[in-house]
Every structure is written in structure tokens, then in C-alpha cells.
């Protein structure tokens, strides 16, 4: 086990236990900046942790970032670990990040689907969904990115429990989703919500369940364009951007359609790289470059959130 976050290896994939151990390392090393919250327990009883980065104040406006809601998308949890370390390294060094953290809090949930993630290590590397049991079906799990109360059950998700995009019996049926819903509602002051997936190099904003343009579409498109430009500037990784439904396909019950419906204007979904032929099996050697380029885009979104209070 790494003895410090400096000796932790960011260029390899880690188990759930190693990532949870990393969280504790970071909190222990930066008690003034980082704290660990438990927002709930997964279906199989694993704790669901969120890192809070705060320089003070009370219930400040905040930015939420989550990774790993689809458990097999390993480069996202690994990037989340890298982001956590980056924030502690750059606060006080990077003027942009310092300005952000002097006014806003950042919440980072690295393993958003702990049961699924543990299952990818123990039994099935290709597992995507939660691990909840569905009465009357031998198939397991719900797609946690179809389970939110925004267009729930509309076209763009499946009602078949054996499908990879099964939406579940009802909105927020998955405790992994409900835990975030409750946190967001209780906090009440989250101004940007960024949910990170892989793969296919996209930066998207609402809506996914309807062709209707989001009221803030023009601004979101502009922010996405700037963020993608920053991302591509590092290694030339090509990204497309736009609304979910126009960029990929109709998807209902998605995270950011719900957060946007809660008034969180800056709601975005990333689909990180694979630039080649690996898909979800992106080699560990690409973890750090992927995290580095994504960080540049995150900074743009966070800076825009800071400079455009609402």
C-alpha cells in the first residue's frame, strides 16, 4: 500500500480498497483542505464516499464531479484519483484553481458505483451496471445513468432487466443514485455538476431525453467549446461537443438531465478517450495523459462557474 499520496502510483489501475485507502491518505495529508464524507451505502453495503475540498465558509456554492458511475470505465475512476491529488498540489500554486477554491467548494465522488467496480475486479471486468437484484428476473443490475428522475422510462432506456441500459423499476431505485440525489437536494447550493464516463471523446450537456433545446443551450455550448479546445491543446485528442441527444443518441433518465432540472445550470457529461482500439480496456499508460487533458477542460468549466454566479 502506498505510504503517501506522493508514492501512490497514478499510472496503474487500482482496486476499490486501494482507492479508498488513497482517500484516507489525502485527508490525512491535507486536513485543512480535504475531508471525506460518506453519503450513503451501496446496495451490497459498501460505503459511498465523496471528497470535499474546501477552504472555509459555510455551504458555499459548489462544484460536483463524479467518476465511475459505469463501473467498467476504469480510466474514469483512475482519473478521479489523479484529479484529487492535482487539487491538493495546485491549490496555492495555480492562480485559477486557487481563486476557484477561495470561493467555491469542490465535491469529488471517485467510485460512484462501488458494487459494480468491485465486481469488475472480482468476477466480470465488463460489468457496467449496479448489482441490485430485480424481483422476477435472473438478470442483475440497473444502469445508474438511466435511473434518474428526468424523462425516466422514456425512449432512450430499456425496461428489460437484462439490458445494459435497464432503467430500473422506478426513478432513484438505485441507492447509489438516491444517495447523490439526497446530497444535492440537502446541499442546495451546487452550481456545476460534471459526470465523467468513458469512452468516445465527447463533452455533452442536456438534454438527452428530448430534442428540445435546453434554455441555456447557447451558453453551455460556448463553455463546452472552450473546454474542448483546452483539452485538445495538450495532446491533440479530438473531442466533439453538444447536447446528449444530438451528439450520441436519445438517453433518458440521465444524471445531468436531472441535475439540470434541479437548476444546476452547468451540467456536463464527459466521455473520455480511447483514441485507438482499446475501448474500455485503455492501457494504464494512458491514465495520466487522459487525466491531464481532462483536467484542463474541468478548469475551464469551474472557472466559468466561478465567474458567472447565478
Amino acid at each position: 500500500w502506498a505510504r503517501s499520496s506522493d508514492t501512490f502510483n497514478y499510472a496503474t489501475y487500482h482496486t476499490l480498497e486501494e482507492i479508498y485507502g488513497f482517500l484516507d491518505l489525502l485527508v490525512a495529508e491535507h486536513p485543512q483542505l480535504v475531508s471525506k464524507l460518506q453519503i450513503g451505502s451501496s446496495y451490497e453495503g459498501r460505503p459511498i464516499y465523496v471528497l470535499k475540498f474546501s477552504t472555509g465558509g459555510s455551504n458555499r456554492p459548489a462544484i460536483w464531479i463524479d467518476t465511475g458511475i459505469h463501473s467498467r470505465e476504469w480510466v474514469t475512476q483512475a482519473s478521479g484519483v489523479w484529479f484529487a491529488k492535482k487539487i491538493t498540489q495546485d491549490y496555492g500554486q495555480d492562480p485559477t484553481l486557487t481563486a476557484i477554491l477561495d470561493s467555491l467548494d469542490i465535491f469529488l465522488e471517485i467510485v460512484t458505483n462501488p458494487d459494480g467496480f468491485a465486481f469488475t475486479h472480482s468476477k466480470n471486468r465488463m460489468w457496467r451496471k449496479t448489482r441490485s437484484l430485480t424481483e422476477g428476473s435472473s438478470c442483475v443490475g440497473v444502469d445508474p445513468n438511466r435511473n434518474w428522475d428526468a424523462g425516466f422510462g422514456l425512449p432512450g432506456a430499456s425496461s428489460n432487466p437484462c439490458s445494459e441500459t435497464y432503467h430500473g423499476k422506478f426513478a432513484n431505485s438505485e441507492v447509489e443514485v438516491k444517495s447523490i440525489v439526497d446530497f444535492v437536494k440537502n446541499h442546495g447550493n451546487i452550481k456545476a455538476f460534471i459526470s465523467i464516463h468513458s469512452y468516445s471523446q465527447l463533452l455533452m450537456y442536456p438534454y438527452g431525453y428530448t430534442e428540445e433545446a435546453a434554455p441555456d443551450r447557447d451558453e453551455l455550448d460556448q463553455v463546452a467549446k472552450s473546454a474542448v479546445t483546452a483539452l485538445t491543446s495538450l495532446y491533440g485528442t479530438k473531442f466533439e461537443y453538444g447536447s446528449i441527444i444530438k451528439t450520441i443518441y436519445q438517453a433518458s433518465g440521465t444524471t445531468v438531465d436531472w441535475t439540470y432540472s434541479q437548476g444546476i445550470k452547468y451540467s456536463f457529461t464527459f466521455e473520455l478517450r480511447d483514441t485507438g482500439r482499446y475501448g474500455f480496456l485503455l492501457p494504464a499508460s494512458q491514465i495520466v495523459p487522459t487525466a491531464q487533458e481532462t483536467w484542463l477542460a474541468l478548469r475551464i468549466i469551474m472557472e466559468h462557474t466561478l465567474n458567472h454566479p447565478y
Partner: protein, 93 residues
Amino acid sequence: KENFAGHQVLRISAADEAQVQKVKELEDLEHLQLDFWRGPTHPGAPIDVRVPFPSLQAVKIFLEAHGIGYTTMIEDVQALLDEEQEQMFALRA
């Protein structure tokens, strides 16, 4: 632990909407146990699908019969998974 020996990932190029619809038909055939890594969206967008070994021949015949282009993106999923595990354990050691 699930073994993916012989599973391949095909990258399908649907040239037009009709071909996208054809690929969507494949999506509905549960017995093939297809795992769409990137689903069928619009013509020109890559479609990546993991195909278990027993379904490989049927899927390739279907695509060729409908003139739908594809390449093999991953020859053997298990080989990549083994590499990934080796890398993790080597670094841990």
C-alpha cells in the same frame, strides 16, 4: 471470474441510416449476447461491439450479407485483460 477468451470487439461502420437500423436489429437478438461498447447512433459514427466467440461467425456473416463494413478492433478481449492484470500486479509487487 468471467473469461473472455475468443471474444472479439468489432468496429462497425454503418454507411447510412438503413445500415444503422440493421445493426440495431442485431442489438435485439439477446441470444447473441452482444455487448455494445458504443451503440449505433448515426451513419459514420463508429459502432463498437464485443462479440462472444460462439456468436462471431453469425455476426460477421450478417454484416457481410448486408454489406456493412467492419474491422476487428480487439482480436481477443481476454488477452488484453491478462495484460491489464499483469500490469497491475507487477506494479503492486
